[in-house]
């Protein structure tokens, strides 16, 4: 490349493209290593998976077809408490992390049996080190008295939890700024230019230089990755979410479909649709979500809905993350995943450490998440 880092303009160690949960977690992790970091964020016009998600710190069932993903997920869940405490200590924001276990509720016996088989095979693959419990209706009712009479049962994951994702995002931004991080909200990144000794990231007429660049732009990674010799074969997958009025606390544990926040708000979701970049809502899907939620918890029938939204998941073909450094342009990294909440602690920990020093984590094989697996 012809251009080189501009003297006086290049005291930044890393530019992170994307100021959502993934980008912020990486940025905080790099700051932990003493790096000076700039986040370039598209702004509120971005598709923003971080503002639409369900807030689960979820373990059970994740990585059923990829043992390393299960290990990565569990590693992150283990590190989440320290990550949350650090954020709260530094910012004073209580992000409402609770990790006292979670339930995957199954309406029918068939569903429950399939769920159990899936988790049992994971337990086998992880040499018995994969905690879960099968709860029949009676056992479930004992744990959650509000459960509906027609629910078959649930699987219980003691490592599951949840958090308030909006407070999390806010706390992470504050923590980043506290440590002199620069958050540039300047519209979409239009070009990433590899230059001698680093990268120049253009956003409209603005540009920013650094020795490393990390792509954490969610669905935006698809067009950015090829500019630094990487590939991000991502597709949007829409989830719709329903929010009901605040009611007195009745649900201690998060479930895969319904949870109650620290303030008492009810959140229902878990639809999956392939509808391109349309992040709207549809009555039929919302009705299906609501009907299932009422079957799980009949008391919800008397509770009013106050809003709904759609948001786009960031999905690779196999659903697992890509963590990869460019071979063509070393110093350029791709970090993309669907589970930005669950994996936040891992991103701020071992993944940021890998980007900083090249050191691979012990708990799982990082190579598993190389993007090459999609180019056969």
């Amino acid at each position: 490349m012809s251009a080189a880092l501009t003297p006086g303009h290049s005291d930044v160690d890393a530019t992170v493209v994307g100021g959502g949960l993934v980008g912020l977690a990486i940025a905080l992790g790099l700051q932990d290593q003493g790096r000076r970091v700039v986040i370039v964020d598209e702004g509120d016009i971005a598709l923003r998976a971080s503002r639409g998600n369900f807030g689960l710190v979820w373990v059970q069932g994740k990585g059923d077809t990829c043992a390393d993903y299960a290990r990565l997920t569990r590693l992150s869940a283990r590190q989440w408490r320290a990550f949350a405490d650090d954020l709260t200590d530094a910012t004073g924001i209580d992000i409402q992390l609770s990790q006292i276990g979670g339930l995957y509720i199954c309406l029918s016996d068939d569903e429950l049996q399939q769920r159990q088989q899936m988790l049992a095979s994971m337990r086998l693959e992880h040499n018995d080190d994969y905690p879960f419990e099968l709860l029949d209706h009676t056992a479930l009712k004992a744990k959650v008295p509000a459960i509906g009479p027609t629910v078959a049962g649930a699987t219980w994951g003691p490592e599951d939890g949840h958090v308030n994702p909006l407070l999390l995002l806010r706390a992470m931004v504050e923590r980043f700024l506290q440590r002199q991080g620069q958050l540039l909200t300047c519209g979409p990144v239009t070009r990433i230019e590899p230059i001698t000794g680093g990268f120049r990231v253009h956003a409209g007429k603005q540009w920013n230089e650094s020795t490393k660049v990390v792509l954490a732009a969610g669905l935006g990674n698809k067009t950015l990755a090829p500019q630094v010799g990487l590939s991000a074969p991502l597709q949007p997958n829409r989830g719709q979410v329903l929010i009901a009025e605040r009611v007195r606390h009745f649900l201690d544990y998060p479930t895969g479909h319904v949870r109650q926040t620290g303030e008492g708000t009810i959140q229902c979701g878990d639809s999956k649709e392939d509808v391109g970049f349309d992040c709207g809502t549809t009555t039929d899907v919302l009705a299906t979500i609501a009907a299932r939620a009422v079957r799980m918890f009949p008391l919800l029938e008397q509770v009013r809905l106050v809003r709904s939204w759609g948001a786009l998941r960031v999905m690779t073909p196999d659903g697992y993350p890509i963590y990869q450094q460019s071979e063509q342009y070393p110093g350029a990294y791709l970090v993309t995943c669907h589970s930005g909440v669950t994996l936040a602690a891992a991103h701020a920990g071992p993944i940021a450490a890998w980007i900083d020093s090249g050191q691979h984590p012990d708990d799982f094989a990082l190579e598993t998440f190389h993007g090459q697996r999609f180019s056969v």
Binding site: A146, V247, L299
Partner: protein, 106 residues
């Protein structure tokens, strides 16, 4: 009955009087008014306490957006006072914190 209120009804459009009950007190409202307007005109409130900190609140946006005016109206908790018209004999109570999720599904 009501104390001083900063809100005055305009004389331009005299509507029929509607009698409602607020926390057991009789107040007079006008046909077509919202519960929130009637309560404010009567100088009553705060009309709810928040579920998080129990802070006192009163009607604010008056157009269905802010949810500050939640009251129990004719037995229905968390009702938006600004989106509910007064009717004769209506029973209004202030919303104290989060509502109970009642399991009385028929």
């Amino acid at each position: 009955m009501a104390s001083d209120s900063a809100f005055k009804r305009l004389p331009a459009n005299p509507a029929a009087v509607v009698n409602i009950w607020v926390e057991g007190q009789p107040i007079t409202a006008r046909a077509g008014e919202s519960v929130a307007a009637a309560v404010l005109a009567a100088g009553l409130g705060p009309t709810r306490t928040t579920p998080v900190s129990a802070a006192p609140r009163a009607p604010y946006c008056m157009m269905g957006v802010c949810f500050e005016c939640l009251m129990e109206i004719d037995g229905q908790p968390n009702s938006q006072g600004c989106m509910t018209q007064v009717s004769e004999g209506m029973q209004v109570r202030f919303q104290q914190g989060a509502r109970e999720p009642l399991e009385n599904a028929s």
